[in-house]
Symmetry: C2
Subunit: 433 residues, 2 copies
């Protein structure tokens, strides 16, 4: 799985890439960016810059499978590129690596195709056909279940079924898009009838997202051994949640308006190739847990399918901003909190014949660590709002206030390899209409 593109010693002629916490030359994530005219173009993040992939293609700097990949990325969405699967994507990576390396022979020609990321707007990388959200963070499921059922937090199906539900594709937005507080029906336990108004318990959820690649035809399941080939990339996902609306509406068919007003993704597609050094064995299940059923069991996936990723959540409030204080770190956790591997989520999703399509987005569900400094939502951190967080500014938070900003971060580290990151996934809460 390792090739020369991952070694920490490799450097780019783009100076800001060397030692960049997110986008060194070892990452090369794909995305859609726009300059001042607003038209989306395919691009690659390199340090503080974005390489215009459409321009690289037009300049004739690509051939073979790499050219095929870049041609599929034209038109302002990456769906066709994602559909191609791993071969062309890998060829493109290798060619971009050579083009951007410090001994590149095309350095002069590329100079005009590099734009300062700060001057660009990032779009969604793909037209999302369907968005599905799982519930694979077992500590999160346990924490939330315990708020309702202290003696029996996990339901009987949890360790057999990768629990998931369909989310709303139209309201998925890229990092930076404001998050408008939703109005909705709320009925606190202290009131006898519901009322309509702005959510009082607005929360975030720390998740990873999976971008679907080739996908499957309707009625044709994806075997677990092939599931990894259908994952074309990774991102961060903030599944903003209105807890008061959720509590009142969600029985018996699950969350609806409580989670469909906005979901934020980090806009760079982190490729499986970039993540190759950062795969790990799936955490061993505790004694007594059932072995996954055959359609979810693959030795290779168990040995290499999990992700070595450190995850952090920061909160920036009006008070912190006014006083020039740094963002407050709400949590620091790890992707090992997932009870199912990405491949298991894909294989389960398709096991009944549901067709996954290029550009579909799968969320893992909220990822919480076992220790409370790694909980992935305010619902868990504040025990349902009962134990507010106190910030350096003197402010306290049960849930999010207007003007608050949440920033999610993911970083992969391994000795001997250049670390990579996922880039920003942020959103500011704005007042309800």
């Amino acid at each position: 799985m390792q090739d020369h593109t991952h070694l920490a010693s490799r450097r780019s002629f783009v100076a800001s890439a060397n030692g960049h916490p997110d986008f060194p030359i070892q990452n090369l994530p794909l995305g859609i960016f726009a300059l001042h005219d607003g038209t989306g173009r395919a691009g690659v993040a390199i340090g503080d810059m974005i390489l215009d992939l459409d321009a690289v293609l037009a300049a004739g700097l690509l051939d073979g499978a790499a050219e095929e990949a870049a041609a599929a990325a034209e038109g302002g969405v990456l769906n066709e590129l994602l559909a191609l699967g791993g071969g062309p994507r890998r060829a493109l990576r290798l060619r971009l690596f050579d083009l951007l390396s410090e001994d590149s022979t095309e350095r002069a020609r590329l100079a005009g195709m590099l734009h300062r990321a700060a001057d660009c707007t990032l779009h969604l990388p793909a037209r999302i056909g369907d968005y599905t959200d799982f519930y694979a963070g077992i500590q999160h499921a346990t924490n939330v279940g315990a708020l309702f059922r202290p003696d029996n937090p996990l339901l009987p199906n949890y360790k057999y079924v990768p629990i998931g539900y369909h989310g709303r594709a139209s309201s998925v937005v890229p990092s930076g898009h404001p998050v408008r507080r939703p109005n909705g029906q709320r009925k606190p336990a202290t009131e006898t009838t519901p009322s309509f108004g702005p959510s009082r318990n607005l929360d975030y959820e720390l998740e990873l997202g999976l971008w679907i690649g080739p996908g499957n035809a309707l009625g044709e399941p994806i075997p677990i051994a092939q599931a990894t080939e259908h994952i074309a990339g990774f991102c961060l996902l903030n599944d903003w949640s209105a807890r008061d609306i959720q509590g009142w509406e969600y029985q018996p068919l699950g969350p609806f308006l409580a989670k469909n007003f906005c979901s934020t993704v980090s806009p760079w597609v982190i490729t499986p190739e970039a993540m190759a050094p950062f795969r790990r064995a799936q955490a061993k299940r505790p004694e007594g847990d059932p072995k996954p059923m055959d359609y979810l069991w693959d030795e290779r996936d168990q040995a290499h399918g999990a992700l070595e990723l450190e995850l952090e959540v920061f909160l920036l409030t009006p008070g912190l901003r006014e006083k020039g204080l740094p963002p407050h770190r709400l949590s620091r956790g790890h992707a090992s909190g997932l009870y199912w591997t990405p491949a298991q989520l894909v294989a389960h999703h398709a096991c009944g014949g549901c067709n996954l399509q290029p550009g579909d987005l799968l969320g893992t569900g909220t990822i919480s660590s076992a220790s409370e400094d790694g909980f992935g939502s305010l619902l868990e951190i504040t025990r349902g709002g009962k134990q507010p967080v106190t910030l350096a500014s003197g402010e306290t938070r049960r849930f999010l206030e207007d003007g608050d900003e949440i920033v999610l971060q993911a970083r992969a580290r391994r000795a001997g390899f250049a670390g990579i990151g996922f880039g920003e996934c942020r959103g500011v809460v704005t007042p309800a209409p």
Copy 2:
């Protein structure tokens, strides 16, 4: 709301349209059809024929808003036409009515643009961005709730919240597409651990579908008084359901694989203009039920927003086919079984800012009548499989067997007006992989 196009006395030069139970000249539903080359083209159903709308446009037979509407329907999907809203759609209807009426001056030119429907394939009318399924059939909710909670079938939120959840858009198919029985995890009460295999309790659900028109921007709710303008058409919807998979997977986040393997729609978009004579007052709520909240309350919608539609479900089995017996009518009900109007579903969906987009599909939820000959699923008819249905062939059914076909039908009738129908919504169950 009434105009001359609805009168029963109006006739078409297309002979089969006159007295046609579904598609008389008073209906003129819009859809996407294909001839032998398979390319989707916009069309209009008229009797047993389909008028090629792309050809009508190309022949210069349209102008003004009608031309704008037909131009937006080019390209094999109706999304852009749906986005235009009522004005252009009404103009197109009026022009098509004149073109197809028995005193049409363009009869000769149109002859070559009319195709026998039997020679055509019908596609989905739109690219469905998101599909949402509601639960607005109160008798269905009561029947299903009673199977689990005999003393308290409806949950406390039911009469306040139009309960809904997100469904799977990618697996919505047009009438006639086979329905492959899904594999999945099942755990009958008689077994201690789940097993994986073909669903043993495959069911249908009788629903109506709403096609979304212009829609709203993210963060901008749709006021109830404007909600009707965002409904561009109606269809039938069969929300195929694997009850055993559903029972095991659905807690706590709702149905997922149990309902995402296939959903069938009738492919013709029945316009609000065609349905205008068949609107009725919403059924008065029983004494003691809460009045809908302000954001769901509109006097005009209450007076005219409900649908006058008779709904039927037929079952055709291998045994009935072999013996030349007619389809077995499983139920005959009425759309008045809906606790919320279509406009209320739209206003609720958008009240938190969720953006609806042209071509989105909303299902009403299963519609059951109070009497058991109008129940909208086998789950209800057979009391969860305990009371099988016996057919004239001697066969019995708890749930659907391979080879069974379900046909949904919707007809609108009113004295003095030509009745219209929605056309076929059918699917045959094929074996699991």
